[in-house]
Amino acid sequence: MPSTLSHAHLTLTRAPRPPAGAPRDEVVAQLRETARQIRLQDLALVHFAGAGHIGGDFSAVDVLTVLYGAVLDVAPDRVDDPERDRFVLSKGHVAGSYYVTLAAYGFLPVEQLATFLKPLSTLGGHPNRLHVPGVEASTGPLGHGLPIAVGQALAARLDSSPRQTYVLTGDGEMQEGSNWEAMMSASHYGLDNLTVVVDRNGLQQGASTEASMDLAPLADKARAFGFAVSEVDGHDHGALLDLLGSRERPGGRPRFVIAHTHKGHPISFMSDQVAWHHKVPDADQYATARAELDALAPAAGGAL
């Protein structure tokens, strides 16, 4: 049995947001290292708490890091600012990596992570907007985030506000019809202030998305629904930064970014393995995964 999650397992330190105008290479290197630190911390949370969704956590970490580290106009001291950007995590089951990301960027005290999944903790298995600063939507059931994000983007439009709305969905989640209802609305209202990012790891809880209910051709479908579609390596911080950070909005259309990712990335025995949807690493697996992440430290010359 693993020991109970405690403060001794907290390795995360606050990550500075790169100053405006910092050289791109420096920004990307910093994001890469922050994402590595977030994975290390999340791995410990899941291992010692004995529960979590580490596969999806690790496929989403890089998108989360780039959004919070360099894209979203949000800050811990202005979580109620009406003019903040909005981010909706639709795949609410990756709450672990989301909490760690929020802690890395100062929305939560790092010490609070030690309460993850414990009785009465505000850091439960799915994020609650009423209890976790920076969380815009209480999610968990799939297919909720995209309609909410469309409403957020429409509110910005009604306010003539430049604020942006981003939503991260899973790919299996795109099987929910509510997403397609929302996508019709987004293009009907011409919401070019909305960016949908799909964490396209190709796996859902029980099998591949294609074997479960084929999504392909996802890009064509999104295009047919009126979106400007891009595809990107969802673990390439530079490519994500360039794409998500760009405020260009082609043709007044909402954006649909297919982020190609790997569930469990970059851990050798987790990557692309459907079993790691919500499997908990045992002591040996925890040690191995840590060692693999340590080997990617900048001093070790590695890269995710």
Binding site: R86, G151, L158
Partner: protein, 323 residues
């Protein structure tokens, strides 16, 4: 209708509560720019034409897509707006139930769900379009205030209250014509019942389109020397438990009557309070099955909620208690 109905009911002017809803919403929106309407191609069925004319940019039509409608309303609320989501109660509640649970209630978003033409208002269109389950479903949700107004005055009062309240609300907006039963200065307070007719022999608890029928029943009972207290209970959740318990203690028997399924609905709520605090006989009237073809008025009568039917239920209950 029975010929025993007092002339005041036979001659009373009747109202479609949607008119009071729209008039109130337009007035509120004129004062508060945060208010927006959200519809599922339901401008006509919600009678929202006047709102669309006054605020064309603040009426969001999502098409026939109820999950998206409630989810988007949650997002609009997150963007500082006060959305009044308006659609036929049957589709709004059944189709978007999980969004109502998670995006409205659990998230405590400041949005207002306005269920049009609830109960058996769609009459002959049948149980696919009836919304008799909505009260029971939504009463099960924590954090959601569930309101069933009885007349145009109470509908307007509930909408005004909902706009000022910071949190999720469900309001039924009736289309079946009803007479005015509350005084013009009636206000809505969650968890607060109003006594509309005094009596100490039995209590009739009702709301929505059935409330005037309960009042007419009380008048028939009064003519027979039976004192029926009538509790107007628009606030189903939270319930005015104190008023129910006081009625149980002072009158010793209760009849509930509603245009919805009583199990889990107003009847269920009243029975729970009575059983927990002061057990006495309770008779629950409501539309407790998928209804056969018929108009709304016919169906309410058929399910025992004509004034005579409600009076009969009260008499039977009293007889049972005395025997």
């Amino acid at each position: 209708m029975t010929q025993r109905l007092a002339p005041r009911w036979l001659e009373a002017e009747t109202f479609d509560c949607r008119d009071a809803f729209v008039e109130t919403l337009v007035a509120l929106a004129s004062e508060d720019p945060r208010i927006v309407g959200v519809v599922n191609d339901s401008v006509g069925s919600s009678k929202l034409d006047a709102f669309r004319t006054a605020f064309p940019d603040r009426l969001v039509n999502v098409g026939i897509a109820e999950q998206d409608m409630v989810g988007m309303a949650a997002g609009l609320a997150g963007g500082g707006r006060i959305p009044f989501v308006s659609g036929a109660a049957c589709f709004l509640t059944a189709r978007a139930m999980e969004q109502i649970k998670v995006d409205a209630a659990y998230s405590r978003n400041n949005l207002k769900l306005c269920g049009m033409s609830p109960g058996v208002a769609y009459g002959e269109l049948g149980p696919t379009h009836h919304s008799i389950e909505d009260v029971a479903w939504l009463r099960a949700l924590d954090q959601l205030v569930v309101v069933v107004p009885a007349d145009p005055v109470e509908t307007a009062a509930a909408i005004r209250w909902a706009a000022a309240y910071e949190g999720p609300v469900f309001v039924r907006v009736s289309r079946t014509p009803v007479p005015q039963v509350h005084p013009a200065d009636h206000t809505f307070t969650p968890g607060r019942a109003t006594v509309l007719h005094e009596g100490d022999d039995v209590t009739l608890v009702s709301n929505g389109t059935v409330l005037w029928r309960a009042l007419a029943a009380a008048e028939q009972l009064a003519a027979e020397g039976i004192g029926a207290r009538v509790l107007s209970m628009a606030s189903v959740s939270p319930l005015d438990t104190a008023a129910v318990v006081q009625a149980a203690r002072e009158t010793g028997a209760l009849v509930t009557a509603e245009e919805s399924v009583p199990r889990g609905g107003l009847g269920g709520a009243v029975a729970e309070a009575v059983v927990a605090h002061h057990p006495v006989p309770v008779r629950m009237l409501g539309v407790d099955a998928f209804a056969p073809t018929g108009s709304a008025g016919y169906l309410l009568d058929r399910y025992g909620m004509s004034p005579e039917g409600i009076a009969r239920a009260a008499r039977e209950l009293l007889h049972r208690r005395r025997s």
